[in-house]
Symmetry: C2
Subunit: 341 residues, 2 copies
């Protein structure tokens, strides 16, 4: 029982440390933050005293004085999905190294989205930088955000003002479609996605790519083969049900997420159908359950996306000057061939 840890039950302030170490608060501040111009011996002594008093700078105070909050905000449309959970995990890991905190916001529907961009200054000033996933921004909105001094990295969306991370949706989707075409399929369906009218950009890109792939293969476009699946298992199930009810059902289906693909497969199984014999299925993501279903899918490295995004914001925060041309990172994808297609 040492008991020397706590300081009078009230947190020690920088002044307490200064007093105890026999130096000025300025020196303590510099010493503890590893700034230059501090004698090694002084630094060490201050360090020790601080440790002994278990001193830790008051975040609010230093934020106020320094003008930086010391945290990064992450905005996602949903939390409880494989993709976002994984991405956030990647971000957290990076931020932790820099001792900066992660503020998490969910913008799950259009109403929240509007409020979010409307109250921009409020959110922006709670953090030094933002990572926004798939949040649609009108030209005016992103312009305003930028002029509000926001440091933002967008994922799944692009705007002229901010650096962004995207998959090469075109070639990713084309890989899936081409694979299906190469397997001899001529009637290919697609399960698209959106969530609560948030106007995701990604499914639009994928649909366009899908269509161009179909046309490139000399196959006609059939709107009835395009069904929304809401990026959920249930949605995938229903979409597949609709597709199979068609007079002339597809022999292959591309789902824009593994969840939807798995839902589709489940519907098939329940009706005694199997992939790829009855209908071939390709998913997107390569999440944990893809392997369980032996699902052929387009893999993306979500962890890497999170890590990269985090590094990007940190870069944005460090540098004072905004680069003329915001960086655009394209993340790689690859087709994982398994049993369903």
């Amino acid at each position: 029982m040492t008991g020397q840890g706590d300081w009078l039950s009230k947190p020690a302030t920088i002044e307490d440390v200064a007093l105890a170490a026999g130096v000025s608060v300025a020196t303590v501040s510099r010493a503890l933050r590893n700034l230059p111009n501090v004698a090694p011996s002084t630094r060490e002594r201050v360090q020790q005293v601080a440790d002994q008093m278990s001193y830790v700078a008051n975040r609010a105070a230093s934020s106020l004085a320094a003008g930086r909050s010391g945290n990064i905000a992450v905005v996602v449309p949903v939390l409880d999905s494989w993709y976002f959970a994984k991405a956030v995990a990647g971000i957290e890991a990076v931020l932790k190294e820099s001792n900066i905190d992660l503020l998490l916001y969910a913008v799950t529907n259009e109403a929240e989205r509007r409020r979010f961009v409307a109250d921009r200054s409020e959110w922006i000033r709670r953090s030094d930088g933002l990572i926004m996933f798939d949040i649609r921004l009108s030209a005016q909105e992103s312009e305003r955000l930028a002029s509000s001094g926001a440091r933002i990295v967008t994922i799944g969306t692009e705007s002229p003002e901010f650096p962004s991370l995207m998959l090469d949706e075109i070639s990713a989707t084309r890989a899936a479609v081409d694979h299906l075409v190469a397997s001899g399929h001529t009637r290919i369906g697609v399960i698209t996605g959106d969530a609560d009218g948030l106007g995701f950009r990604v499914p639009i890109l994928r649909l366009t790519a899908f269509q161009s792939g179909i046309e490139a293969a000399g196959l006609g476009l059939h709107p009835e083969l395009e069904r929304p699946g809401g990026f959920s298992i249930d949605g995938g199930r229903e979409a597949m049900a609709e597709l199979l009810k068609l007079e002339n059902p597809p022999t292959a289906v591309f789902a824009m997420s593994d969840e939807m693909a798995v839902g589709a497969l489940d519907h098939m199984r329940r009706n005694g159908l199997t992939a790829p014999d009855d209908v071939a299925v390709v998913g997107f993501d390569d999440n944990d359950i893809a392997e369980l279903f032996d699902l052929t899918t387009v893999r993306q490295d979500v962890d890497h996306i999170g890590v990269t995004a985090a590094r990007l914001v940190l870069g944005l925060v460090e540098q004072t000057s905004t680069p003329s041309e915001p960086e655009r990172v394209i993340c790689p994808t690859s087709l994982v061939r398994r049993g369903t297609a």
Copy 2:
């Protein structure tokens, strides 16, 4: 194009508003926070001026002055798992209503855990309250945290100092075991869990309950039937592989999470085995994929857990006095009977 929104490209301060409204900063502060003792007319005018200047209080400044950070920290052992993602989503939804921010920390291994409790003051003072999931705390550690003034709600763990949320692990597990026993099984295996030596309390409780269930049924305890699965799909797969290699393999298996159960099922399928004919399987959680695998499992309402935890911390933060007896909430579970057992 109104253009009246931004204020000189620099955020307006409370003083700017006061000046523009012709009142003192004190009045502005009171008016905007809906405190009493402000003339309705005054309040309205201030409100308008503030809106027009799109003024929003500086979080750091008010935190410093008020002594409250305005955010709640959530500490989880992993982010990218169904359970935690879902729980955090529930928490976020509640906090959003109170306009308080969510700080997310992952404490994924023992080293991080140690650091976390060691630097307690640092974390504690970044937020007004914490929600800790499954983080093991020694008596001394929780004592210190409490005396550091931490307002904590624990989930999956209990300590004398803090309110907590737990499942009734005993009866939940017993429901699973009893179901298996009732189905005539006499040799029942269990796939346990832990993650990176974090010393989860939950799997220990479940194991104890499992054992007592076995004994209550008059069946002998067989240590070789207890296998760790690390709460992952792969872990479940391997555990089942081990169990099946036994000279006298179990005819039924209880897995402490659906992930592990599904992994186990996958291993069986690959070896031409099916549930429940070859081996009956019961999982725990009832997550999204449980239904896909027609998995009999113990359901818990994770969203509700998150919501309740959030309300608890908020309560802790509001009230100044700590209640003598920390609240203990027991969340309900139920056995969902499907096809695998």
